[in-house]
């Protein structure tokens, strides 16, 4: 059962970064939910209407997924979301060194934003567009 307003789900174990992003997205009228591990992200996906998932790669699995490799848990979450919620738009906000992995994400229609190099305003534009299905042109 889904409750409350639709949200953008931010999955990252660094809540300070998510908080800054959430405050900016919410100032644009997009409500956010923050999850700091795979378990709480899945819980939110099951209990709320989610417009888009923004996920980091390195984060804990949490109590429901204790065996997931924390260094690649975001990939696990992305695969799980693709299976159970195939239409949900996904943005990957992380630092991935392996170009092959980035190509494989983008080939699956997932937007990749590099943490630390993407200005907050750009991230907000991309996530807003992905969550609302609006087309954007990035400079």
């Amino acid at each position: 059962m889904t409750e409350g307003a639709a949200v953008v789900l931010l999955a990252d174990d660094e809540p300070w970064l998510s908080e800054a992003l959430a405050f900016s997205l919410e100032s644009q009228g997009l409500e956010c939910a923050i999850a700091t591990d795979v378990s709480s992200a899945v819980q939110t996906l099951q209990s709320r209407r989610v417009l888009a998932l923004v996920t980091d790669i390195m984060m804990p699995g949490g109590p429901e997924f204790p065996k997931v490799d924390a260094s690649e848990a975001g990939f696990y979450l992305i695969d799980l979301v693709r299976r159970q919620w195939p239409k949900l738009p996904i943005v990957c906000l992380s630092v991935i060194g392996d170009q092959q992995k980035i190509r494989s994400l983008t080939a699956r229609g997932i937007r990749y934003l590099r943490k630390g190099e993407t200005p907050l305003s750009t991230a907000v534009d991309v996530i807003t567009a992905v969550a609302t299905g609006r087309r954007i042109r990035l400079h």
Partner: protein
């Protein structure tokens, strides 16, 4: 050759880890500032972002101090003497000040840091600890930082002064102990945790990024004070103590 390649790989992974540790707070600071500049973000949220930025700054300073100490400590160790002179340190005051530093991070996780004032009075009375203040402050900070990171949500961390007997028949020593409830530490892992770059399995699972130098530095600091870091782990309860010889209580 294979060994060299393996060492190179480990070093690269370590450096990547260090880079991640340093950039993560900076990224949060950058985005925090950008969000503050957003006119539509409310004042109360801007205030919250400001305190997060302050917290991230504290984390960064603490981390950089650890890295800079690492090389200095090796040199001190080889020299067999301190770069800085030991002084009389009030251990209770030190514990209170450091606990205040970590209070904002602890509050984020609903954790309370309790200083056992009576235990300090009992162990030290009116005496001080003869030690290099900067070094033991960093060592105690490292224990507190770990406790705040790995304790269960909404629990209490106790900072206490204790009398410690490290082995049967050994002289009584004094300890500054940080006790918390949280991640279990496997008995076979306890003795490895003081090695450079080593992190517990459960710790890596809870927080994937980490340098594994906090306890190593704390122990190095204690060694040059003729002491040690003593770890007691039982189930989810763990106590990390900085143990000083009683001769340092003056």
């Amino acid at each position: 050759m294979a060994e060299l390649a393996e060492t190179q790989k480990t070093t690269n992974q370590y450096l990547q880890n260090v880079a991640h540790q340093l950039t993560a707070p900076l990224n949060a600071i950058k985005w925090g500032i950008e969000a503050i500049k957003d006119e539509k973000v409310t004042i109360s949220r801007k205030m919250r972002l400001l305190s997060s930025i302050y917290s991230q700054g504290t984390i960064l300073v603490h981390l950089i101090k650890n890295f800079s100490l690492m090389s200095n400590l090796e040199a001190d160790h080889e020299l067999g003497q301190f770069r800085e002179q030991p002084e009389r340190v009030d251990p209770l005051r030190l514990a209170i000040n450091l606990a205040n530093d970590f209070q904002p991070q602890a509050a984020e996780r609903g954790i309370k840091i309790d200083i056992g004032e009576l235990s300090f009075n009992h162990v030290f009375g009116t005496k001080s600890l003869l030690a290099v203040k900067n070094l033991i402050a960093q060592a105690l900070s490292n224990l507190l930082e770990n406790a705040v990171k790995y304790a269960d949500l909404k629990t209490s961390i106790a900072v206490q002064a204790t009398f410690v007997t490290l082995a049967p028949g050994a002289k009584t020593a004094v300890g500054l102990a940080v006790k918390s409830i949280g991640l279990p530490i496997a008995p076979e892992e306890v003795k490895c945790l003081l090695n450079r770059g080593v992190r517990g399995t459960a710790a890596k699972q809870r927080i994937p990024a980490g340098t594994g130098i906090g306890l190593y530095i704390a122990n190095r600091v204690m060694e040059i004070h003729q002491g040690t870091v003593f770890i007691q782990a039982r189930g989810r309860e763990s106590t990390f103590s900085l143990v000083f010889p009683e001769s340092r209580v003056k």
